[in-house]
Symmetry: C2
Subunit: 208 residues, 2 copies
DNA sequence: TTCCTTACGCTACGACCCGTAGCGTAACTG
DNA sequence: CAGTTACGCTACGGGTCGTAGCGTAAGGAA
């Protein structure tokens, strides 16, 4: 969450955890109302009923604040066992798409990624707060598919890692691109077509 | 380019086309040096040797200006016939990745997309200036693959359209996500793995 | 040429946000 | 109790925004 991580109980007045929650909630509300570019620290402070200085005591700036405010949304993603690899993929695609329908996620995600191209520490923050939390879904889905016999167990560990990263980029990238760049809906039909393509490949999907 | 499109020859002093070029060039230079968030209209005007008011006479704001400044970069993308669908896909992936290596493209692309989530006219501008220019590559690649017999000709026209859009989102999305979100390089090895996945599908790529 | 029209450069302006400093007060610890 | 840290508040210099106003430059039309 905040920048400093007070180890154990320190002396002095403790930070208000209620303020933390109020600030992050206010940040999301401001994202919905104003969007990324018009969101200001002053506005968030006012909404949260907190002094502006308090924000700067906990976050370096707008970028870090928004990452933390949005990160929690991505924890909602789950991967219930739907019985087959195809169903699991389609399920997670629709779930991710639903997340990107939320205006606070839409406007914030790409903006902080854009900022991170010139800010390494922000990039790491995004990775640990958002990206890595999604990647676990890929690993879980693969395990299940392997247990079902739909995918074989990979011999080489580094090959397996590279493959998981690849699949993650393909799934997340396609959904993000469809939603934010092409700006068209990810509905059940699209998810179905995408799943076929991912599982069967270009020629295979055409045949089936 | 600029907002107003003077139909035919009008009376009065004509707009300087040299200024147009200088402004767009200055915008790209400013993107390289300062990045999206720190780029200001004043800075661009100074670099271009132009008054700030001239910028506002031609573009509504930073968003529109940057879209136009970056759009030309995407015209460099080509799709030479490399003899097979796999080679064509791999080629365009590496080409697109090389484009995203350029700092002015990295920092601008995601930023304007983020802004476009709250600005319909900007979204249309991005679509016509950037997105649609890339989509032609997918259509061309499919035609060639069909002529080679690697893909069959689709019966239904709307099916074919949906499929092309899907493939476009998958390719562009994966490359963008790998480059900007995962922040890892798109090298020949990754492009090869991605191409296998796209052509053969999850199970097929594992086998091959 | 002389008018007319539009673009340009320049200056100045109010409005807003940034990020920080300083101060008195509040809360918790030993 | 004293010591330490967080908080709210105010104020500030510095910067950007987008626009208005002015005189001048560069074309077309009479």
């Amino acid at each position: 969450m905040s920048d400093t991580d007070p180890k154990a109980t320190r002396t002095g007045r403790p930070r208000s955890i209620a303020a933390d929650a109020a600030i992050l909630e206010a940040t999301r509300a401001s994202l919905v109302d104003l969007g990324w570019s018009k969101l200001t620290m002053s506005d968030v402070a006012t909404r949260a009923g907190v002094a502006k200085t308090t924000l700067y005591r906990r976050w370096a700036g707008k970028n870090e604040l928004v990452v933390d405010a949005v990160a929690v949304l991505f924890d909602e993603l789950e991967l219930p066992d739907r019985g087959s690899l195809a169903a699991d993929v389609q399920g997670v695609v629709l779930q991710f798409a639903a997340l990107l329908e939320r205006p606070e996620a839409r406007t914030a995600l790409m903006a902080v990624v854009a900022e991170s191209t010139r800010d390494d520490s922000l990039r790491h923050r995004i990775r640990s707060a958002i990206v890595d939390r999604q990647k676990r879904l890929v690993l879980l889905g693969r395990e299940r598919a392997q247990a079902r016999g739909e995918l074989r167990y990979e011999d080489d560990a580094s090959d397996a890692d590279r493959n998981a990263d690849l699949i993650f980029d393909v799934i997340a990238g396609a959904v993000v691109h469809r939603t934010l760049v092409s700006a068209e809906p990810v509905d059940a039909e699209w998810a179905s077509g995408f799943t076929s393509l991912l599982l069967l490949g270009l020629a295979g999907a055409q045949a089936g």
